[in-house]
Point group: C2
Chain length 241, copies 2
């Protein structure tokens, strides 16, 4: 259904990828990185709104986001759903399903996106030979656990205002790591999706945007946001995250 394209002989792979300092190759020596190139033999394009994988699908591959943005969504039987993450270039998605060898969430593109396909068995195999890769995989998973715990704090202990401020600051930080402006960016997700992620309703999110704008913390025009007073936002959060 999705278009899978083999990577050209001389195409960009891990060892030459611009995301090298964010993605899987972090901390891996140049000579080892070339061995990782064999991992990425194909990529998938995911048009906006389409699913990369679906809850329950057998898991044989995980994915590295190459460009675009994905969301991962967990759906309850009664139809209620929760977005568990927004995924930017350089992030690995699908790791949550490794334990069951089946995907436990849906992954959906928020804009036209592309992902590197990583066969899990090959990844496993190579990790055995490259200790630094093994460490990096564990580090990535550990960081995801740690991020999830931060989210638990947000949902469990913060008020709506604090959650949105933390969300904006977190996004800002991630955009900036990827070479984009830390203060001005385009939200790829709707108010409803932000709400789902933060455990709020879209109306609440919308009101908060308006309130933040009135207070002069941010400027908003549709999905284009500009963080004007990051310190004020930080003060709202009061702390880490």
């Amino acid at each position: 259904m999705l278009i899978r394209t083999p990577v050209a002989e001389n195409g960009t792979r891990c060892s030459t990828c611009a995301l090298g300092q964010i993605c899987l190759p972090v901390g891996i020596a140049a000579e080892d990185a070339t061995r990782m190139d064999a991992l990425v033999s194909e990529r998938v394009r995911i048009p906006r709104g389409k699913l990369l994988y679906r809850q329950g699908d057998p898991l044989t591959t995980v994915y590295g986001v190459r460009f675009g943005t994905l969301k991962t969504v967990l759906t309850l039987q009664d139809g209620r759903s929760q977005i568990t993450g927004f995924h930017l270039p350089g992030e690995i998605v699908g790791l949550d399903g490794l334990g069951k060898m089946a995907h436990v969430s849906d992954a959906i593109a928020l804009e036209d996106s592309e992902a590197c396909v990583l066969r899990f068995d090959e990844l496993q195999e190579l990790a055995r030979e490259l200790p630094s890769l093994q460490i990096q995989i564990m580090r990535l998973m550990s960081n995801e656990i740690s991020r999830d715990h931060d989210m638990l704090v947000m949902l469990g202990a913060m008020r709506a205002e604090e959650r949105l401020a933390a969300f904006l600051l977190n996004l800002s930080q991630r955009m900036s790591t990827r070479g984009y402006s830390a203060t001005e960016f385009l939200l790829r997700m709707s108010r409803e999706e932000i709400g789902s992620y933060l455990g709020l309703k879209l109306e609440t999110v919308s009101r908060l945007f308006s309130r933040f704008a009135e207070s002069g913390f941010i400027q908003v025009k549709q999905r284009q946001v500009k963080l004007v007073d990051m310190d004020a936002l930080r003060q709202l959060v009061g702390s880490r995250c």
Copy 2:
């Protein structure tokens, strides 16, 4: 501060541990499991209320709970805190700090407990030689991510009643895997701790217990609970988790 005891030459180790089918050795062949014995050269006792590790501590070891119950807590600068997990025997704690090589939460004993000390570098080393151990570590981490996502759904999309029902069912299931009764058990945590975990106040938790008891779903006497009508609880949750 905590008492660390070397494991006796002929003491119980991984290959002979009763928790073998829950803990690290899952899926590892008998002859390989004996090699894991070398990993567990000491154990720690954590008396009730004491910390096993603290947010910010450098991470050189992770821990396998041997008996007792631990909670992991994330604290914000303003003092608010969130319990990110309750940990029963056979569970590995500390994995969330691997990425930063420092602990990102406090681990505190809810009752007198004991944990196996696993040096991370040794674990890493052995995982390289035993592919099945490498897989098992990844599986454990993946399961933790997946559990955290389930928690996100609870905190983001469920009402108080549903959260408590899901909590009780989850605890029931975990007790039963460990050979305890699935319907009758002692809560090792206070109402306030349950509340912190579920993103609720202790009064709300207390009221819900009373309400569930009135409805005949459960019987409660202090921390002793008996699940009388599990189907009713499942219906409350309406779904998975």
